[in-house]
Subunit: 218 residues, 2 copies
């Protein structure tokens, strides 16, 4: 395995080509979030500041672009989770994960849902990554509980509940960042052990493996 094959993006691309590819994917995610996945390819190229020919060289079809944009999002989520686990303060790691995933939900709006609807097989391609994420999430939760920061009766499914609810909020109110941040702050507080002063009903049967597909909507 060469060094370059471990860098995001197909190995063998020259540095400037790789940068262009990244730029196109970031632009595609923003455009798909704002206008849907049917937005013309030319709009994506314009947003990325590259020519249409360059865009098509990297992504010969819209499907290829949409799938790669979604994969990039999955990579971002995986990186966020890895960073949370690497934080020496278990609560801060947990808190940052929630805040960062919710910030992603704000930015991506309906893109993950549109992707899931248009490419029902798409999520299956990421099964292994999701199983990995689920394990890491369990570790993150148990670590924060062992440190006495996360309430002992917090259930891993609560994270999915919070993310699905937050996703519903940003879908209904896409321009209200304050609402999103307010909800996140309330939820994080209610998850802290030092605020565990009210009994909770039984946890949901919702599987925590919905992370980071909590944006799925019927």
């Amino acid at each position: 395995m060469t060094e370059s094959s471990r860098i995001p993006g197909p190995g063998g691309l020259r540095a400037d080509a790789r940068r262009n590819r990244e730029r196109v994917l970031v632009a595609a995610r923003a455009v798909f979030a704002e206008r849907g996945i049917d937005t013309p390819m030319a709009t994506v190229a314009r947003r990325a500041g590259v020519g249409v020919a360059t865009l098509y060289r990297h992504f010969p079809t819209r499907d290829a672009l949409v799938r790669s944009a979604f994969t990039q999002q999955m990579d971002t989520c995986a990186r966020t989770l890895a960073e949370a686990l690497a934080d020496p303060d278990p609560w801060r790691g947990f808190q940052r994960l929630v805040e960062t995933v919710c910030a992603l939900q704000r930015e991506e709006r309906g893109f993950p849902a549109a992707f899931a609807a248009a490419f029902p097989d798409g999520a299956a391609h990421h099964t292994q990554a999701r199983e990995h994420a689920e394990r890491d999430l369990m570790t993150l939760v148990r670590r924060a509980q062992a440190a006495g920061a996360l309430r002992a009766d917090f259930h891993p499914s609560d994270l999915a509940v919070a993310l699905v609810a937050h996703c519903g909020l940003v879908t209904a109110l896409p321009d209200d960042g304050a609402a999103s941040r307010r909800l996140v702050a309330y939820l994080l507080q209610s998850f802290r052990a030092d605020a565990a002063n009210m009994p909770l009903p039984p946890p949901s049967s919702l599987s925590p493996d919905r992370f980071p597909m909590a944006a799925d909507r019927p």
Copy 2:
């Protein structure tokens, strides 16, 4: 104004006719929630346990039935709010309002959203009721804050934020009552003054008058 005109349902109906009408509306809300507002009228009649002729006598058109079912829902919300205000314990009144409205959201699922989409003028008919509800909500919030039970930095828009998020949750997971109750418990705890141990970001600009139309979705 006669006594009967203050009873829900058109005045002048005999008691059994009024009961049939109520039963049809309750069945209609359940059926519309489960199967959408295009469900055949015969299905509603069957659920209500009345003949199709009886249903059409009360509601000559589907539009009339849908509008009346929605009005009944608004009446239920108004009654819930009145009961919350009448509770001598300000926090318990506030808590019951949140729990009852969320239980309604669970039951009604997509009905209010489908109504708003099909009858864009429908909500306008209820403007006066909504203004009234907004005033009562403000009273409920201020009263719970004055009692020292609801945190002082709780903003009335937080209630709308919570209800929109909860609505997103029950829309995405219509069969997961546990998820809904878990979220409600977490949110209520985070609203309590005695758990006010983390600073909050600025409140949303979302108007609290979205109650009880927090179920609106784009």
